[in-house]
Amino acid sequence: MRVLFKIKAMTLLLSIGLLRASSEGSSHSEASWLDSWILPDPGIFLWTIVTFLIVLLILKVKAWGPLVAALENREKQVENSLKAAEKAIEEAEKVSSDYEQSIKDAQVKSQKIISDSKVAAEKVKAEIEKTAAEKAESMLENAKIQITTEKENAIKDIRDIAIDLSIDIAAKVIEKNIDSEENRRLVEEAMNNIGKS
């Protein structure tokens, strides 16, 4: 920039020199031009101040005011949105952690339910097995008793039949009908002996 000003200053000096050199003989008019350039004209001065202040007022109210307000409003909005976004992220994080926690809880719960039911099932199974075994045992016992009873009855029946048959046979053989009571006693005696021997 300094070079620029040097060039400008040199141009200005050169030009003024040129003006002076070329305006010999018309110094009067030159002086009036130079005066009008260097000495500020009060009319223009006042006009400028008045006009500039009016322009400033118009622009301040109509242009810069709304523009600055809009910019500030936007700045605030951006700030608020950033804050809201941060808050939303925080909330989302909280929600997701809550969700994870609830999933974990559910998993633990289901695990417990499964293990509880397993235990219960085992218990039921054992009970059923026990009952079944008991039942089978008792049935076996009954069957044994029944069989023994039946066996005894059968043996008794067979003995009776055998006695009757023996008597009949003996009667036929000796063809003498003796006292049946006596016979019967004799046969039974014989039978008992048979059973013993």
Binding site: G43, I58, L71
Partner: protein, 276 residues
């Protein structure tokens, strides 16, 4: 340009860089002050009309809806406001106090840059009565600097109160004899600030135009001394040289507007932050 009559070349050059106060469109006097409408007043109104139209058009979306998003010209205005706020206002005046001064500095920048650039457009030469660049007129730049001058005082007064502001001008613990020197220096410093603003902007804008007109005048001057043939050749040089200077001038237009706005902000900031 006819150099053979009584009008000198200097007159011609100055005619192209100054306001012709003799060419009055509408004579108007108030309390003994000549407020006649001359070309620079018309140019002043053109510039003001231009920036008002542009700004109102560019910010119309925000007047309708505070939540509007930038589009087209309004994004340009958002960039302008953002640039001035972040690069000029906030570092020099401060975020809190700067809010009140943002409209002034923005209007300064827009006004000066528009006046500078509109002055570069040759079409305004068709309006008779001198130069088209109002920022090359010291009356205009002095008026702008005067607004800065009073803004500095107002800023300091609002912040520190009327008496405290003037007391802040001088350091508190200096021996009395030093004050005799210090007070005039401070007063001079106060006045020099706006004068520097006035001269910097006015001289920069005028110098460029004087240079360009002088270079354009070279072939006409050389016709007398070297003859029309060589003068014609020098015409090529002056046109190409001026094309280059024109681009330089566009940069200068932007830089000077920025410098004026920046320095105004710096001075206002100095009045507010006296501890520095």
């Amino acid at each position: 340009m006819n150099l053979h009559n009584t009008t000198s070349f200097g007159d011609i050059v100055l005619h192209h860089v100054t306001n012709d106060s003799n060419h009055v469109y509408y004579p108007f006097h108030l309390f003994g002050i000549d407020l006649s409408i001359t070309k620079h007043i018309i140019m002043l109104w053109i510039v003001c009309g231009f920036i008002i139209t542009l700004s109102l058009w560019g910010t119309r979306r925000y007047r309708k809806n505070i939540k509007a998003t930038p589009k087209g010209l309004s994004s340009l205005f958002e960039i302008l406001i953002d640039f001035i706020k972040k690069n000029i206002i906030d570092p020099n005046i401060g975020k809190k106090e700067g809010k009140a001064w943002l409209p002034l500095i923005t209007t300064f920048f827009l006004f000066i840059v528009s006046a500078n650039l509109l002055g570069m457009i040759p079409i305004f030469e068709f309006i008779k009565g001198g130069s088209a660049t109002i920022t090359g007129n010291f009356a205009v730049t002095l008026a702008l600097a005067t607004i800065t001058f009073f803004s500095i005082i107002i800023a300091g007064t609002i912040k520190h109160g009327f008496f405290q502001y003037w007391k802040n001008m001088v350091p508190s613990n200096v021996p009395k004899p030093v004050l005799i020197i210090l007070i005039p220096i401070e007063i001079i410093g106060m006045v020099v600030k706006p004068i520097a603003l006035t001269l910097r902007l006015g001289a920069n804008m005028t110098a460029g135009h004087i240079g360009m007109v002088a270079i354009f005048g070279l072939p006409f001057l050389l016709t007398e001394t070297l003859g029309p043939g060589l003068a014609f050749g020098s015409g090529f040089i002056s046109v190409s040289l001026n094309t280059a200077i024109f681009f330089l001038e566009i940069i200068v237009c932007l830089v000077q507007a920025y410098v004026f706005a920046l320095l105004s902000a710096v001075f206002i900031g100095m009045a507010i932050h006296t501890e520095h």
